[in-house]
């Protein structure tokens, strides 16, 4: 279950748009992979403003945001 979003290499604001779409679909947990700190912050802010919880896993040069309701 859940939904995976690969937003690596995408420029602003596409990671946020893709993540928001996945959240709106409601298949939790939504896992969003990004590769810049900016995208990590933007996706996290959007998700938290929308009442979701966000956990971040950091791996080599990448961040995986696990978003749950």
């Amino acid at each position: 279950m859940g939904k995976q979003v690969d937003a690596r290499g995408l420029s602003c604001p596409q990671p946020v748009i893709l993540a928001k779409k996945a959240i709106d679909e409601g298949n939790f947990p939504v896992e969003v992979t990004v590769d810049t700190v900016t995208s990590r912050e933007n996706v996290r802010r959007m998700a938290e403003n929308g009442g979701c919880r966000v956990r971040v896993e950091e791996a080599a040069d990448e961040f995986k945001l696990i978003i749950t309701r």
Binding site: R8, S11, C12, V16, I17, T38, N49
Partner: protein
């Protein structure tokens, strides 16, 4: 410690602080010698650099602006200190180059980028209102494209040295500014003796202000276009609060210094052709949105290793050359013996702005993925 600083800059107070500092420094740079209502204008300053290099020969607007150099290098320093320097490139560079050219043509029709539009308003220039309205309209159209799946595709990680190219270009520009070598009898470099290009704060002040703003903006992701886009796209007022802080801070400093004069004409380096102020900024706003950042933000991204943003910025420099060589730029109002001599946009500029909007629309429609 590093994490705590990062968290602060990502917070609401962080972005407000950055906006306020930019507003204050911009107003003070005007006091220190930069042209009126042009303490910082990314488009104008890139245009001045293009002029200094001889890419256009408009004699009034030629100077290597240290603020631009500082923006890139300040962002580079912040990115290195916080381990965010990341060389990346390859997301439709030719499209970004063209968007840079079009953004500059639009901005120079209005005579300013979004940063200067705010500073013009803070100085009482009411033409900025039509400009900002146009900017909003352009961003709104861009948001519609984004919602319908517009994307320029993914960038790829590349060699660190590739990420250093833009910072090195800036270092070379700085050396050219300091040593001012002459290349041939009538060759570059060119420095204005009259007009806006001749007006500038002391080099070290400009550079320091640029470095400081570059540092803050890299940490906070300050972006004028993004501020409106995020409000329209998801009612997120984070970046908008920073932009509002810039406007308020610059207004307060201007009032304190007695530098506010409300009205439409004459205003410094501005014209009152409302329709073209609106459409010029609409073109710029649309191009910024399709490219993912305002001209300042593109410089900050270039400083942290984003080669695609660097291409956009270089597109803007080339766009300045095209704009002035082909008579596309707005003509400011002038005052001759107490009589206002109204400026405006030449017919060539009108055609270019209309064509630019059509090209942006073609890019927006034809570069969509099914989301």
């Amino acid at each position: 410690m590093r994490t705590r600083i990062t968290l602060f800059f990502a917070s609401r107070p962080g972005i407000i602080l950055a906006g306020a500092v930019i507003g204050i420094l911009a107003a003070l740079l005007q006091k220190a010698g930069n042209p009126p209502n042009m303490g910082i204008c990314v488009a104008c300053f890139e245009r001045d650099i293009a002029g200094a290099l001889g890419l256009h020969r408009a004699a009034f607007v030629q100077y290597i602006r240290p603020e631009i150099i500082g923006f890139v290098l300040g962002s580079l320093i912040a990115a290195l200190l916080f381990r965010e320097f990341k060389a990346r490139a390859g997301s439709a560079p030719i499209v970004r180059f063209v968007l840079g050219i079009l953004a500059m043509i639009g901005a120079l029709a209005f005579l300013g980028c979004p940063w200067r539009a705010l500073l013009r308003l803070a100085g009482g220039d009411l033409n900025a209102i039509t400009g900002l309205a146009g900017l909003s309209a352009g961003i709104f159209i861009g948001v519609l494209f984004l919602k319908s799946g517009y994307t320029l595709g993914k960038s790829n990680k590349t060699y660190p040295s590739a990420g250093w190219i833009m910072p090195v270009i800036m270092m070379i520009l700085f050396l050219l500014l300091v040593f001012r070598p002459k290349f041939g009898e009538a060759g570059a470099l060119f420095f204005s003796e009259k007009g806006p290009g001749s007006m500038h704060a002391p080099v070290f002040l400009s550079l320091l202000a640029g470095l400081f703003i570059g540092f803050l903006a890299q940490r906070t992701r300050f972006c004028t276009m993004g501020s409106l886009r995020d409000v329209m796209l998801m009612k997120d007022f984070h970046l908008a609060s920073g932009v509002a802080a810039l406007l308020i801070a610059a207004s307060i400093v201007n009032f304190t210094l007695g530098a506010v004069r409300f009205g439409f004409s004459p205003q410094p380096v501005a014209h009152g052709a409302h329709l073209w102020n609106f459409l010029g900024m609409a073109l710029a706003g649309l191009a910024f949105t399709l490219a993912g950042g305002c001209p300042g933000r593109q410089l900050f991204l270039a400083g942290e290793g984003d080669g695609d943003a660097a291409i956009f910025a270089l597109g803007m420099v080339v766009g300045a050359g095209i704009s002035h060589n082909f008579n596309l730029a707005g003509k400011p109002d002038g005052v001759v013996a107490g009589v206002v001599n109204a400026g405006g946009l030449p017919v060539e500029g009108m055609i270019a702005v209309a064509a630019g909007l059509a090209i942006c629309a073609a890019i927006g429609f034809s570069m969509r993925e099914n989301v």
